[in-house]
Amino acid sequence: MRWLSLVCISLLFAACEEVHKVNASGVTTQSATAGGGNIPDTAAGFLSEPPQFTYPEYSNIYLQREVEVPSNSAAGDFHVFHEALRADGQGSFNLEIIETMMAGDTVFGAPSADVAITYQDQQRYMVKYRDIHLGRALSLNFNWTEDPVLQQIAGVDCVHYIVESVHGLGDAEFWIDASSDMLLAYTMFDNAGEVTLKLTTTVIDNTPVHAGVEWSSPLVDEEDYDPDGSNAIALDIEVSDPLYLPPGFYKKSVRVLNSFGMFQGMGNLHVALFSDGIHQLFIAQHADTSVVNNGGTSQFPNSITLAKFSETGGIRMVEGNPPLKRLYVVGSMSRDEIHTVFSSLF
C-alpha cells in the first residue's frame, strides 16, 4: 500500500512538472521534447485547443499548388503535380492539372492523358476529400504544437503547426496564412514517418478573373444516406458496418451515389467516410450480381476469405466480393489498419 501510494504520488508529481506556462499571446507552452518521427526538436508552443482553419475553395481566389505523392518505385521518390485551384467564393470551384514531374524526372512536363483524365473526373472529390479539412475530436486524437517562428508560403507569412497523432496513426504539419487562417500547405505522414502527401501553395491571386471557367460538378447524383430506407437513390443491399475502426475514428458522413448500372450487375453505391479529425477512411459497398464469392467458405455468413490489396499515391485500398456484393476500404492508414477494418466487415 505504502509502495503503491508513493508510485502514484511520483507519477502525479512528474505530470505536474509538465504544467503548461501561458505566454503573452495566450498560447500555452511547454518545453519541447525530442519527438519520435516527424516532430522537430526545436518545436515549442503546445496548444491546448486546436486552431481554426479556413479553406481556399470557400473564397474568391486563384491558387497554384504543387502536390507530391509517393511513387511505387523502389527508389521511394515522388511524383509532383503542379495544379491550379480556382474558386468564386460562391461555392463553385475548379481544379486543373498544369504540369507534372513524375518520379525520376528532373523537370516539369505536360501531364499524361491518364493524369489529365484523373483531374477532370476527380477534381471535385480531390478538393473535398484529398485537401485536408479539419474534422472533430482534434484535441482528443492529436497533440498540437505551434512553431513560434512564422514561415513563408507563396510569399505569405504562415503559422506552422506540428500535429502528432496520439494513436500513432500518422503525424501532420500544416501552414496557415497568419492573417486569414487559410490552409496553404500541409504534409501528411504515415505511422512509419513516411510522407504520404505533401501540398504546397506556390501562387496566390486574391483578385482573380474567372472567364470561361468550367466549374466542377458531381460525376453522379448523390445524397445523404438515410438508414430508414427513404433515399431516392435506393440501396439493394444490407449495409455491412465495420466492427473495427482505427482508434479515435468516428463516422463523419454517409452518402449514397447513383451508380446503378455503371458496370454490369452494379447497384447504387453506399459510401461511409470515417475520420479521426484529419485522416480519412472510406468504406464503400454496392450490390454486385455479376460475381459470386471470390474466396472459399468461411464460418462467418456473407463473408469472404480472399481480398485484393494494393497501394498507390500513399493510399491503401482493399476490395472483395462476398456473395452478391462488393466491398471496399480505402485510406492512407497503414496496411495493417486497412486490413483489420476490412476483415471486421464480415
Partner: protein, 134 residues
C-alpha cells in the same frame, strides 16, 4: 455603543473560553476509557474501528490529490466534445485484431488490377495514376 451594557451571559461565555484556552492539554487517565468502554458495552453500544482516520496524512493527501486531479481531467475531457454524442472508436487488443485479420487473406496486386471504384476512391484522397500508363 453609548450606554448599552453587554448581557452578563456573554461575559460568562468569554470568561469560560479564556479559562479553557489557558488550560494545558492533559492526557486522560487510561482507566477512564476502560470505565467508559465497560459502560457502553453494558448498554449494547459496540465501538467500531474507524479506518478512515487511521490513514497517515501522506495517504490522505495522495487520495485527495487523486480525487481533485480526477475531477479536473474529467472536466477537461467532457468539454472537448460535450453534448456532441461523438463516438470515437477505442483501441482494441492485439488478440482481437488478430482475430479479425484471421478471417480474410489478402493478395497484393498492382494498382491497375484493382477495380475502378477502388481507384476512384483512392484518387479522391490523393493523386493516383496508372503506373503502367506512364
Amino acid at each position: 455603543m453609548g450606554d448599552l451594557q453587554a448581557p452578563p451571559e456573554l461575559w460568562q461565555g468569554v470568561r469560560t473560553r479564556l479559562i479553557i484556552d489557558k488550560l494545558e492539554t492533559q492526557q486522560a487517565p487510561s482507566e477512564l476509557w476502560d470505565v467508559v468502554h465497560a459502560q457502553l458495552t453494558e448498554e449494547g453500544v459496540t465501538a467500531r474501528t474507524t479506518k478512515m482516520f487511521s490513514l497517515r496524512p501522506m495517504y490522505a493527501a495522495a487520495a485527495a490529490l487523486l480525487i481533485v486531479l480526477g475531477v479536473a481531467f474529467q472536466s477537461d475531457w467532457a468539454s472537448s466534445d460535450a453534448g456532441s454524442g461523438l463516438q470515437l472508436a477505442p483501441a482494441i487488443s492485439a488478440e482481437a485484431r488478430a482475430e479479425f485479420l484471421s478471417r480474410v487473406s489478402f493478395r497484393e496486386v498492382q494498382p491497375h488490377e484493382m477495380s475502378g471504384i477502388s481507384r476512384a476512391l483512392a484518387a479522391s484522397l490523393s493523386v493516383t495514376i496508372n503506373e503502367e500508363n506512364r
